[in-house]
Amino acid sequence: MSMKSAIAAQFQQVASEQERTLSPLSDELKLLQSGLDSLSFAIIVARLEDSLGIDPFRSSEAVEFPVTFGDFVRLYENFAQ
């Protein structure tokens, strides 16, 4: 499974658990317009750390906070490299 599809699956899973309507995921989708709240993102980041073994937000370098779904995926892809 690609990084992007793993992340997309986690977005869908958490949205369904939190009973939130997830907007169709595209690179341009603004995260705060995705239908998810902060708690949902917090859970997604924690679960991705378990499944992928990485948390790019905890890197020693300053992290630019992702604004779109595409930014979010790139943050993980760049960190994994």
Partner: protein, 465 residues
Amino acid sequence: MPSKSRSLWESITAAGIRSSRLYGIDTAVTLADLAHASSLGGRLEQLRGRTVLLAIKDQLTAALAMIELDGVAQRMVLCPPDLLPGHLPGVIKGAGVNACVRDAAPRDTTGLGIEPCMTSEPKLLPGEVTRRRSHATEWILLTSGTTGAPKLVLHDLASLTSALAGQPSAPDTIVWSTWYDIRRYGGLQIFLRAVHAGSLVLSDPAESVIDFLARAAAARVTHISGTPSHWRRALMSGAAGTISPRYVRLSGEIADQAVLDSLRAAYPHATVAHAFASTEAGVGFEVRDGLAGFPATMVSAPGSSVQLRVTGETLRIRSPGNAHRYLSEEAEPLQGADGYVDTGDRVEPRAGRYFFVGRRGGVINVGGLKVHPEEIEAVINSHPWVRMSLVKARRNPITGAVVTADVVLADEAGATGERPGGEALTRELIDSCRRVLAPHKVPAMIRIVPALEVSASGKLVRPVA
């Protein structure tokens, strides 16, 4: 500045408000208009000398009621908007409530059994108002307790405004804003600061961060405050640049270096400060050097009205901003024998600074909201499949922490109903939590474990941080 013999209204008029305004989500009120108008009208006198429950959803309505009732009511009990209806009877009894103010459209229509109970709206009714101070009003704030039932913390205007000395006082040029609810300590501090110094843009839980920032920008916000979680959300909105404040404040959670650096980059012309405060201990300090943690020189610094001390790894504070006491008779004393309030926040010295490393007693801070593990464990343990559980914090870059649980299952034989395996099992446990707990208290992850460590004294061994 506020003084012991002034009401909030007298104090803010003495500070020289002219065009200061309170901005609600779709309406605004000019503070000076309160001289000849009232949100409660002639009914205000019916509340004189009473213990008034403010069970109000709308922040602007609540703000007006607080200004009008200080000096009039014997006691004001500030209900945060998310107070569970089940906790109301305990609050009413504990505080001795004998009057109430609610929204014109109350969130639930069941009576509270309190008379008089009046409704209020975020607007002023013109008419003659005598603002006579007859009482040194006690302010009761609610803070979360171990069992989920809130603890009642008693302040007065003097303790609540003790940190205002030395604050900028430039009426009509300062516009505050905050994501906090002003019925909680952190938000109440911003409210009191704002009404003494300028205007305030109030938040609304139903409003998106982008809309809130747009409203703050329209009001020309200069000072803005929130938790690190609020700020991370603003940074993720792509709309952080909508505002250009002079002062950016973080409190309510540990401010890590990453969020401080991100805010410095987003607002290069602003002072980025992080502050420590708690309902019981009051405002401890503010750090303006852009670094996480606080300088060790702040501890035991002589001559300061706020005295800090680190004892047994936790930060303790003695100051005129300390709350006076808990309201319930069976509650433990708020201050220790030495007059210091133990904040329960653990700190660790490193290279001339102290860094916050979590809470004693395992209390978890999820996006600025306190979570007591015992409350969640009680819910999980009530499930017939569960023998015992341990709820822990897990560090998180978005909300500071999330809640996780390790669960030991009951013997299959004793369990009722067929027990599913794997994910379906943890899903059901999470769902059962979601049915009774606020969303931030529901474990993000549940792990089934064969056993949990129990100490010689028979207590669950809890992780230190």
